[in-house]
Symmetry: C2
């Protein structure tokens, strides 16, 4: 199934894609649908429905850095023994089609990623329990302000600019997307492919990340885990290449969808 | 004024301390009171009122590491040019008097801190605007799991164990507490003083931290900024000293209050 939060003429709605188009689910968005839990049936067909930010209010957005061998190599680091985790605020999230707005003069870089959406509460879960608790998968771009990321030992301030992390456009349920079998993760800038990796090669697979994080913090329905980015980021190039005003960033996982966001520096 | 979230026989209430005791404010807790904004008058005297976690649902908890010269020295780092920020989830917070429960075998350390509570929305604020937007100050202990903190380059997983960050017991408004003039920040373990610093010596004063963070992320009423810990943490001792099962951690800022929490390892 393909789930989304869609905008309609009457506001937003959680929705499921059917042969007839988007049909309403009983919540204003997927954050609310997952939080209420329980089963649901598709409702009325929604006219003029367009997917927007699927999860507007995650309680937690936990990110893993250094999770693809080629990206670890381009950062000059050793293969990690544990997942390198950090947090994003929900305010960082941005819908497909919206502009990434940042002040001019920053070193803005791309990081295409698979995002895992939690469907059931997880505490000290095993990998099997974590895998069974996944609500679905979506696409994210952990757009990073490299100069701020490097100002201090902690990456937080380079990763937490409001409304700079595209997420969506839809959430695909696990019966239709399997990161262990391999999902391609791509980033194109102005049509030029800059990143292409497969989740099959993740150092810490997505279920392992959920299980690991649940050792110390409860994960709840609607929480999001970003699984890291493959090689090919701008800071890894010689010389480094950063995004410029007007650049179009496309982030794609075939089988899930594509995010298209334009950078606006001002 | 001294504000709190108190437990009563009828649930929790935001409250203000008066000569008659705790009087009700029109919200179930301080998170809700600050979110609703506007003026209020003290209501009825609350019988059997006891302060509990003052801010149960902050949208953001932003922490600054490396913000006192003696603590920077004991970590072996250079004086920072920018605030070292990282995030905590709201789930980390713990009330005065509650046990800090963690699995046995972890390196658990103390970090007494002044916490600043945001009272008005801040976006790209100046230091003066940030100072004027402070709702009050409270006490925190950024209890840290050092072995997990050091597993990767990012401290997040050592700082985000659920229900391990004591906060409270009350929030004191800025007319009664001035970190620039100097508030003492103390930690005692089993009655032995381990930390004593003054917020007068902060490398990045509290208003500067709010202004800096508001450059990239909006701060809203009820959000919390932890301002860093002075020298004297356990990992800085030779040999390092970590907390043991049954240890009593007292975290005090005279003029605000004292948190007393016992470590339970199991």
């Amino acid at each position: 199934m393909r789930l989304a939060t869609v905008t309609t003429l009457r506001g937003t709605s959680a929705a499921v894609e059917t042969d007839d188009g988007w049909r309403a689910l009983p919540a204003p968005d997927l954050s609310a649908l997952l939080a209420r839990g329980g089963a649901w049936q598709p409702g009325e067909v929604l006219a003029e429905a367009t997917p927007t930010l699927p999860l507007p209010r995650p309680g937690k957005v936990i990110c893993c850095g250094l999770n693809y061998g080629d990206h670890i190599a381009e950062t000059g680091r050793d293969m990690p023994a544990y997942p390198t985790l950090f947090a994003k605020h929900a305010d960082t999230l941005l819908a497909d089609g919206q502009d990434i707005r940042l002040p001019a003069g920053l070193q803005v870089d791309w990081e295409a990623e698979l995002a895992v959406v939690v469907g059931r509460e997880l505490r000290r879960a095993s990998e099997d329990e974590a895998r069974a608790a996944v609500a679905g998968y979506t696409v994210a771009n952990d757009i990073s302000v490299r100069d701020w990321q490097r100002r201090t030992p902690q990456w937080f301030q380079g990763k937490n600019w409001d409304a700079t992390t595209p997420l969506g456009p839809v959430v695909v349920t696990p019966d239709e997307a399997d990161p262990q079998a391999g999902l391609d993760v791509l980033c194109r800038v102005n049509g030029v492919e800059r990143q292409r990796g497969s989740t099959r090669t993740l150092v810490f697979p997505s279920a392992a990340l959920l299980a690991y994080a649940s050792t110390f913090t409860v994960l709840r329905p609607g929480d999001i885990v970003l699984t890291g980015t493959p090689g090919g980021v701008g800071m890894g190039m010689t010389p480094p290449l950063y995004l410029r005003d007007g650049d179009v960033v496309e982030t794609e996982i075939p089988g899930i969808g594509t995010l298209t966001n334009t950078l606006r520096l001002a």
